[in-house]
Each structure stands twice: as structure tokens, then as C-alpha cells.
Symmetry: C2
Subunit: 449 residues, 2 copies
């Protein structure tokens, strides 16, 4: 079945768009920004209120620098408060008749009230094309069969991946999350060429598959399209995924507020995720001052802007993700800037332990470098007297091991964590099954302070 | 929000098709049947083998009577055996390249091995239009908001409903099944005009909603689009749904083998479900001899035929459902035949108790006629010595009741069941929570014999 010759297909989804010069693209971006600013200021009370309170007017923006320096950011907290004050979709929803709306979705709402998203038909249709463009860059073609294990429900989850696959004309096999054994059974029966889920779920499947006797490293899957959490760009997590599945890993790093969210996708050249800045504009800014842009190569917070979306557009949305940008053209020929290491971590998730800034993703990258480590791990932060203590529980892949072996691994792990994180960390090696199995997004941090 | 004027919209989705005369339609149907027979005989080994073993040739069919009398049926059992013998899709899958396939789905496989369905792009696209046509007849319009609580996963479940809503241009709010409280919370926040799920789940929500203090009978929902199991056409179940939701109920009676499965849908005139016979042809045949057609108005088994589908077409598929047909034109103007009472029950589900044929759907219809009955009930068949015994456990809606009251209800229920079913039945009235709550398809029968 799985014919994989790519030569029959065009290289780019939209060559003119994907290969135009930075200068040309910046002109388009500025035009779109100006139009969006006029729109949100004149039509959406939420933005009018914020901009007025900052004495900001759309006409103040005459350059991309103006945009960064003059336009106030918005945050998730502000969106939640706004929907509470002006239910159901908030004063940033846009004035659409029922006939013009394609979809209503919501955040998973695990931490209380869900946020609701209303997507117009134009925006929904446009998203399908953008997702297809990004997936095409990741090598997805009409002759691919894509098993999608992201959930299809209230949350955008799998819907965006499905949209892209459908628009490309690949075969969609949308299973959603299900019992691990069933998911694997379907994988080896249907033999998809692409598998799409969170990196942690993919790691979990690789391990379980091996345990159940499947030849995972030689399975039908050629590409893993991962997202929904950091991991797909962490070198050691990526390596574990590549080796576990015998597949190429394509990270997709964005956030559901920014639907179309597959705008940051890793291409076949694997030089980081492309940022489709003429669809969703991305700025890397100072983490303490979002009106200061940092230079290429310098870490900062990512601020996103919808250049086309009219239903619930986000203008300078503070994602909370940290990254850095590279401007050089990727060897694939696409001229978009890149996040060479994807999203490095969420600024909100950062732990401060005895003055050190610890990202769970940094811990993950170290954990994944141990050959003996299983898919699950857990970071526990607690107060011991006056001092912060950090413990990392790491699942051991092997079923049988000696006390001596465990002792050696523990020492090595503690040493490596100390060197990389700059603080002393206690390691506890646990057996498989002690930590909860991840079937959607992983929960890694327990902060008891 | 919910503007519901239908006057701005056209009455029919495809007026010429939906209102043509029986004679004209029969010519089209016969042409399609002849083309499909040639196709499956020449291209699909599964059919070739069966037809050859029956000495049947496509050219034997020169009339619709020939079709019924001469073409052997196929059964679910045969399909399962075929996929086992010729994995994965069986010798009835059709010869398609990966580029031509839109979707892969599977049966829920609750009873062992799942059956797999491969749908070509042409067939998938056609299904969207057919589902839109059927939903349009049920009154769904672009200004509707449809909360879809069928699952979106391996099984066709909610996908068909979504396809129709999308093609119409209604707003889709695909929640899938979830915790009852969350589903209700979303219902009262988003205020959909249409809700789509199984009848048993809708009954469950109506009851729970009332308990939680929601004004269910005055909720935003104007139409319930139900299916996936019998119930939507049972008079007393329908009445309970109408009263519980203050909504119009539209049954959709088909089976997943026959995707596009929304070909039997109840229109706004509520005179039974229309059968879109020029898409999926339906014959009502003698239950013991599927090559004998029964007359209009006479009960029999439903045999379905895909007139257009090329990927895994079903030709004379024995659905196991029992119904009868009415030929007179519906007052809505559509000239399709109707199943005036939808699907009466599954022949396979029929219990034989002391020689009497008992359909769970007949029991359900009686149970729903009791004002005091809750959403759940259970039928238990067991052997007591030499004799079959049947017990019906009925959930009581009220929280508080006297022993005396229970005694009276029990007597009344036993009397009514005896009159209607022709046999003595024991009734046990149980409190809410004793029987499992239904959140997808109900399981009503426990046969201990």
C-alpha cells in the first residue's frame, strides 16, 4: 500500500507565498496589521476599551516597530474576564449573524470555566488552507494515511489537524484518544503513514507497543505530527520519538487561542518550526516588557497576532511561551522565520527553585537522555524548612534491575541535572505504572509550596 | 440570537430530486441498480463469488421485481468473515489508490473485531450532500446552531451529522459525549437550536437537567435530531422527548454499513421517516425469505442497497431492522416513500418468551407511557425451571414515594404489559441510580437463558 514517492507532487503548497522575500512579506504584514487594528478598534468594544485606556490609536502604527512598541498586549486572563463580563463570546467576538458562523468550540476548561471560540465560515475555511500549507511543508501528501489520536470534541484538539489532512486530500483516520491496546491494534491493522498526537502520548505508545510485542521501530508510520504541548522540539524527546517509531518528527508549536494553530510547523528539513508570519504574526519580546522586541537568537516571550481572522481576532496575544527566532532562510526554500528549537517552555510553567529558573521542558530533555528512562516523569517542588526542594521521579523502562544498578542510575541522573540546571535535585527512580500514564497532555509538575 | 424564520430559505434542498414522481424515480433507481450490479460483479471478488454460487448474472435484472427476487442478500456476518479472510477491507472494498480515499472508519467493535470502512473522496463528498438534503427536510437551516453529542472517533457516529450540518452551513458545536453536567452547562450557555444524540441520551439529559434545576422544557433547542438506535419513532418515547425538551423530534433510522446513513430522516411534517430511495434503495421483504417483497403496510425486514457508493458498496444488505413502508406522498411535498413508524425493532433483538415474539422497542413504548417512569429500564429474560420468564425493571422518576404507591404502579404496569405483549411479565420498580445511566447507546436486554 504505502507508496511514498513525493516526486509526483508539487514541492510547495503556495510557492509564491512561501518563498517571497522578507521585505515583500513585511509590507503585506504591515498592511494586514493596519487593517486589523482599524477593524478591532472600530468594531470590537474589548479592544476599543483597552486601546483608549492606553491612548493608542490604530493610525499610530506606521511600521512593524510601531506595532511592537505601541500596541498593548492582551492576555488569557483578560479574555476569560471579558467573557465573564460579556457572555458568551466577549466583546472581541465580532458582529456576525448565525448564518456566518461555522463552528463553536471551547477550551478544555480543566481549570474552571471554559473559554469559548466562535469561528466564522470565512475564518474556518481559511484555517483549512493554512493547516494544509503547514502540513504540506511537513511532507504530508494526498497518498498519506493519517491516524489522528487528538480528541475531537469541545476543544480544537484534533479538528485543526483533520482540516489540514482533508484539504490536502490525505486519508484521515480519526480515532481520537482510546485505550492504548486498541490504538496500537488499529495502527498495525490500518498501517497509517502519519500519526498525530501529543509527544507524550506518542512516547507512551512506543513503549507500550514494544511491551506488547509490536515492532514499533519498523511500523508503517513515516512521520509523527506532534503538538499540543512542548516536547516535539526538545532534542532528546525528539530522538526518543524518532527511535521509538522509526519515524521523522514534526513539531507543531502554537496555542488554541491562535486558531488556525498549525502556523508553526516543522518542515522536512528539520531546522526548527517555520512561523507562518503572514497568517499569524509572531514577535519575540522581552519577558518583562512586551513592548520591547528582542533580537534574533535571543530568548523572549512569544506574542501572536491574527492577520486575517475576523471572528475573535487576537491582536498581540501574550502566549506565555518562550522561544527565540532565526531569520535565515531554511534549506527547504521557505523564507519564513523559524523557531530553531520550537517552544522552549511556558513562562508560566517556570519554577523558581532557590533562585534558579527551572523549565519543566529542560528537565524533560535531560530525562529523555537516559536510555533506561520510560515515558513518564514527575517534578515535585516543596518547601523543606526555609528552603525549596526539587525532586524528579523518573520511570524506569526496564522491568528487572538490581538495587545496585538503580543506585548508579540515580547518581548519574542527579549529577547531570545539577550540571544542567545549576541546582541540586533529588532523583527517585520508580517502576513502570507508579506514575499515571499520559494519554493526552502530560501533567509533569506538582508544586506543593 | 436564535432567529428562526424559515421563510428566507428555500423549501427543498434539491426540489427536482425530492419531488419527482415515483415512476420517474423508479427508472433512475433501476438504472443505478443495473450499473452497480455490473460494477460489483466485475470489480469486487466478494460479490462475484456470491453471485456465481447463486448462478446470478447482473443482466438477469431487468426490473425492480427482478432485483428483489433474483439477487442474493448479504449479511453483517458475511462482511465480518470476508474482512477476516481478506484483510483489511475485504473483497468488497473496491480498487482505489490512496489518493482517492477520504476516510477510514470502523464499527465500534464492542462485540469483538471491528469492521473497517474505507470511503472514497467521491463517496464522502456525495454523503455530505445527502446528509444535508435529509437534515434540510428535518428543518435544519444555516441559522441553526447544532450541538452534536454523538462521538467523533473510530465509529461513524457524529461524523455524518456533522457533514450534513457543515454542508447546510449551520453552526456546528461538536461536543461529543461528555459528563452530563458539562453537556447541560454547555447547552444552557451556547443555547443551540438543534441537539443531536441518541434518544436514550436525550431522555437522560432531560431528566438530569430538570433535577439540576434547568428549565429543560423551555430550553433553546427547537429540534432534536436523534438516531443510532430505535426510539425516535416510538410514540411514547417521542412524546417524552418532545415534552422533556419542548422540542420537535426527528428520527433518523439507518445503519452504519449504509453510510451515508442519514438517508431515512423524519421531515417537519412528522409522518414517519422519509426513505431516500434514489440514494440508498430500501426494500421491505419477508423476514424468512428476503427474495420476497411484502406489500406496503406489511411488516418485514429492511434490505438496503447503495445506488451510488463505489467504495464498499452494499448491495441488498440485510439490516436486521423491521419496519413497514407507506407509498403515499408526505404532506411536506417530498415524494419519497416513508417508514411511518420508523424502525420498529431489530429482528435480531427479538426475544422469544414462551412462544411470543417480544421486541424491546415494544416494551420501551409501554414503559414510556408511564408518567412516573425515568429514562432507564431493563428487560431480563431467564429460565425458571422449564419456562421462560421475563422481568422488566423500570426506573422510578420520583425521589419519594410510598410503598402503597409503588404497589399500584407495579400492578398497572404488569397489566398493561400483559395486554400489549400477550404474556405475563414481572415488573420491578427501582430507584434512580440502580440502573446504569445511558450516555451513548442504551443496552436494554439481559438474556440469562
Amino acid at each position: 500500500m504505502n507508496v511514498k514517492s513525493e516526486t509526483n507532487y508539487k514541492k510547495f503548497w503556495d510557492e509564491e507565498r512561501e518563498t517571497r522575500s522578507k521585505e515583500e512579506r513585511d509590507i503585506i504584514i504591515l498592511n494586514r496589521i493596519q487593517e486589523q487594528l482599524e477593524y478591532v478598534y472600530n468594531e470590537l468594544p474589548f479592544y476599543r476599551k483597552i486601546y483608549d485606556s492606553h491612548n493608542f490609536k490604530p493610525s499610530d502604527v506606521q511600521s512593524l516597530d510601531d506595532f511592537t512598541e505601541k500596541v498593548p498586549i492582551i492576555t488569557k486572563k483578560m479574555l476569560v474576564a471579558e467573557q465573564k463580563e460579556n457572555p458568551i463570546f466577549g466583546g472581541y467576538a465580532g458582529n456576525f449573524s448565525e448564518d456566518e458562523i461555522a463552528r463553536i468550540h471551547g477550551s478544555s476548561g480543566t481549570s474552571g470555566t471554559p473559554t469559548f471560540y466562535r469561528v466564522s465560515k470565512d475564518d474556518w475555511n481559511r484555517a483549512a488552507d493554512v493547516h494544509a500549507m503547514a502540513q504540506w511543508a511537513a511532507g504530508i501528501r494526498p497518498n498519506d494515511i493519517m491516524q489522528i489520536a487528538f480528541p475531537f470534541a469541545l476543544f480544537f484538539g484534533g479538528w485543526g489537524v483533520l482540516q489540514g489532512a482533508e484539504r490536502i486530500g490525505a486519508t484521515a483516520f480519526p480515532t481520537g484518544p482510546m485505550e492504548t491496546e486498541r490504538q496500537l491494534d488499529l495502527l498495525f491493522k490500518i498501517r497509517p503513514t502519519v500519526f498525530s498526537a501529543t509527544p507524550s502520548y506518542c512516547l507512551h505508545l512506543a513503549k507500550k507497543g514494544k511491551e506488547l510485542g509490536y515492532d514499533m521501530a519498523n511500523c508503517s508510520v513515516k512521520r509523527l505530527l506532534v503538538g499540543g504541548e512542548a516536547g516535539g522540539s526538545l532534542p532528546n524527546t525528539k530522538k526518543a520519538l524518532e527511535e521509538g517509531w522509526g519515524a521523522s518528527v514534526h513539531d507543531c508549536a502554537s496555542t488554541s487561542e491562535m486558531y488556525p494553530f498549525q502556523t508553526n510547523v516543522e518542515c522536512v528539513a528539520h531546522q526548527g518550526v517555520h512561523v507562518y508570519t503572514d497568517e499569524v504574526y509572531a514577535e519575540i519580546v522581552h519577558r518583562e516588557n512586551p513592548n520591547v522586541r528582542v533580537e534574533s537568537g535571543v530568548r523572549g516571550g512569544i506574542v501572536y497576532t491574527h492577520l486575517w481572522r475576523k471572528s475573535q481576532p487576537m491582536i498581540r496575544f501574550w502566549s506565555g511561551d518562550e522561544s527565540y527566532i532565526a531569520d535565515e532562510t531554511c534549506s527547504c526554500g521557505r523564507t519564513y522565520p523559524r523557531l530553531p528549537e520550537g517552544v522552549l517552555g511556558r513562562l508560566d510553567d517556570m519554577l523558581i527553585i532557590r533562585g534558579a529558573n527551572i523549565y519543566p521542558s529542560a528537565v524533560e530533555n535531560i530525562v529523555r537522555s537516559f536510555q533506561w528512562s520510560g515515558p513518564e516523569f514527575q517534578i515535585i517542588a516543596e518547601k523543606k524548612g526555609e528552603l525549596d526542594e526539587m525532586t524528579v521521579k523518573i520511570e524506569c523502562l526496564e522491568e528487572k534491575y538490581s538495587e545496585e544498578q538503580i543506585g548508579t542510575w540515580k547518581q548519574e541522573a542527579e549529577a547531570k541535572l545539577k550540571v544542567n540546571l545549576g541546582i541540586r535535585v533529588k532523583v527517585i527512580i520508580v517502576k513502570t505504572g507508579v506514575l499515571d500514564e499520559t494519554i493526552f497532555k502530560a501533567k509533569r509538575v506538582v508544586d506543593l509550596r
